[in-house]
């Protein structure tokens, strides 16, 4: 073999460092990991820890300042209060309702896109669904405010029928608007999940005597379940934490409103203690979702 005229190695420090790194893969890995782990670990998880710690601190009765003295008072206050219990249950109920509504709305259009529409129509529909995902969250809430408010479009449509418009107070408004806001987050994973099902599988089911209904229940549904769960992470979590929609389109209090108000004006320990509700729910939700394989469908 002829000798390869290799580029003479640059004696530069960078090159020597590269060679050294190449030989020390653990160091290479640690260097890669350092920044992201520090960021998420310190900035994010650290902040969460500080917040959760605050839930166990006391508030000075005179100054209203937070004092680093262990107490369970905030939790007792929350659990003992009828109001906070109602708000928590209302928020969770709303998250469930919005998630179910979005699954029901998303499934037909996702199914149509994935398995019925022609290639061209599919691309168009995909764009049509993606577009509002990028349009501003507040713009969408505002659009509904404009439609729902007195003398708005809905009033104008309903008055001739002798029905009063909903105005901006009904809880149901929040349900409609939240379902509207998070719908694309449900359509896209379900669509991707349905698209991944190979046709041969459905044909096999039909060949084995499965009718359309049975094939749907026993082949399609189990296979898109992870996708549905993935979508529901968004619909559920986004609803649990929203504090803008409930006050913008209705006069309702959600968990987010209590946290928000207490963080700025009221007691931080109370807000922190209340934060446990969505955090515990979402972590449990995520752990179940991961077991169901939803993370691959995110």
């Amino acid at each position: 073999m002829t000798a390869i005229a290799a580029e003479p190695p640059r004696p530069g420090r960078l090159r020597r460092l590269a060679a050294w790194l190449h030989a020390h893969r653990r160091v290479q890995m640690l260097l890669l990991l350092a920044a992201p782990v520090l960021w998420i670990g310190l900035v994010y998880l650290g902040s969460l820890a500080i917040l959760l710690l605050n839930a166990f601190w006391d508030t000075d009765a005179f100054s209203g300042r937070v004092v680093a003295r262990f107490t369970l008072e905030s939790f007792q206050q929350l659990i003992g209060s009828e109001v906070y219990r109602t708000i928590a249950l209302r928020t969770i109920g709303m998250a469930v309702a919005v998630t179910l509504t979005d699954i029901l709305l998303a499934f037909p259009i996702a199914y149509y896109m994935a398995r019925v529409a022609s290639r061209r129509t599919r691309t168009m529909l995909l764009i049509a669904v993606l577009m509002p995902l990028w349009a501003s969250y507040l713009v969408k809430i505002y659009a509904w405010r404009v439609i729902l408010q007195g003398n708005g479009l809905l009033d104008w449509l309903l008055t001739p029928l002798g029905i009063d418009g909903p105005g901006l107070t009904q809880v149901a408004n929040s349900w409609v608007v939240l379902s509207y806001l998070w719908l694309p987050y449900m359509i896209l994973p379900i669509y991707a999940g349905l698209e991944r099902i190979p046709n041969s599988l459905l044909e096999a089911s039909a060949d084995l005597g499965g009718r359309a209904g049975a094939t749907f229940r026993r082949v399609v549904l189990p296979m898109v379940l992870p996708a549905i769960v993935a979508g529901s992470i968004f619909t559920f979590s986004l609803t649990l934490g929203d504090y803008i929609t409930p006050t913008m389109v209705s006069s309702t209090q959600f968990i987010g409103n209590v946290i928000y108000q207490n963080s700025s004006l009221g007691s931080l320990p109370l807000a922190a203690a209340y934060s446990f509700v969505p955090i515990v729910i979402m972590i449990a939700y995520l752990l179940v979702a991961r077991r169901l394989g939803a993370f691959e469908s995110l």
Partner: protein, 267 residues
């Protein structure tokens, strides 16, 4: 499964209904933007471009736009760097706690924004950080990292290791291989991840509200306060329409990048 005729007709109708549900509210807003009157009564009283001119010269709106762009650029930059580093580490090395990393990265978008917001605000206050653009960027970057990470790791998993090995065999050092092989392979993944991160940050209001402080105003923060002032509503209409139109750009770009490949929420 070949869907029966009736199933297909039913699906078509439901698809049309859902699309109408998605687009009617946005259309209504677009119509209001051309309404000459200050009041928001339906139907609008005529046609006018007056409020577009008004919005274009509104210093507060323009300033908020600038702030939003700066915040989104900053957050996207941080997110791309951190997300890429994490993706490289997770896809290339086996180590203790690898599973935990992807879980920790998902947490900021999986936990409600109000929790992230209040946690960051409490921490900034505790350690005495000044609120402003920099705190907004930190907040946004935190939940954007996972977007970049997901995009890059999906690409790295599909990329054969052999090209990198070939590069090393041919005498390239770690940097050269990264610059000439790994980085170009990740190119479009970084672009689409960056695009999504930018859009998420540009639109974010829940965390921003906690981390901005009184002197920093992004476009969503401006809308949030202007919605509650009836006088400003005509300008809000215009800004809303502009934002809806602007959202065509990332969708168009994403479509070009992926070449019609299916786009999922975070990838």
């Amino acid at each position: 499964m070949t869907e029966s005729r009736w199933v297909r007709i039913g699906l078509r109708i439901m698809t049309a209904v859902t699309l109408a549900f998605i687009y009617v509210p946005l259309l209504v807003l677009a119509i209001y933007a051309f309404n000459p009157s200050r009041s928001q009564v339906w139907p609008p009283s005529g046609f006018s471009l007056h409020w577009f001119a008004e919005a274009a010269t509104n210093g507060r709106v323009l300033g908020a736009f600038g702030t939003s762009i700066l915040a989104a650029l900053g957050a996207t930059g941080v997110a791309l760097v951190l997300g890429t580093l994490a993706a490289l580490a997770v896809s290339r090395y086996a180590f203790f706690g690898r599973e935990a990393i992807s879980f920790a990265l998902v947490l900021p978008i999986a936990l409600p924004g109000v929790v992230t917001g209040i946690a960051l605000a409490a921490t900034f206050k505790t350690i005495g950080v000044d609120f402003g653009l920099q705190t907004v960027i930190v907040g946004h970057a935190t939940f954007c990292v996972v977007i970049a990470y997901n995009n890059v790791i999906a690409r790295l998993r599909r990329m054969p290791r052999s090209t990198e090995e070939a590069s090393a065999d041919l005498g390239a050092d770690t940097w050269q291989t990264f610059r000439r092989i790994t980085l170009p392979t990740m190119g479009t993944a970084l672009l689409s991840g960056g695009l999504l991160a930018f859009a998420l940050s540009f639109d974010e209001v829940i965390v921003t509200n906690f981390t901005a402080g009184p002197s920093t105003e992004t476009i969503p923060l401006w809308i949030l306060s202007a919605i509650q002032r009836p006088n400003e509503l005509p300008v809000v209409n215009v800004v809303a329409v502009v934002l809806i139109l602007l959202s065509v750009i990332p969708v168009w770009l994403a479509q070009r990048i992926s070449g019609g490949e299916t786009a999922s929420v975070s990838r």
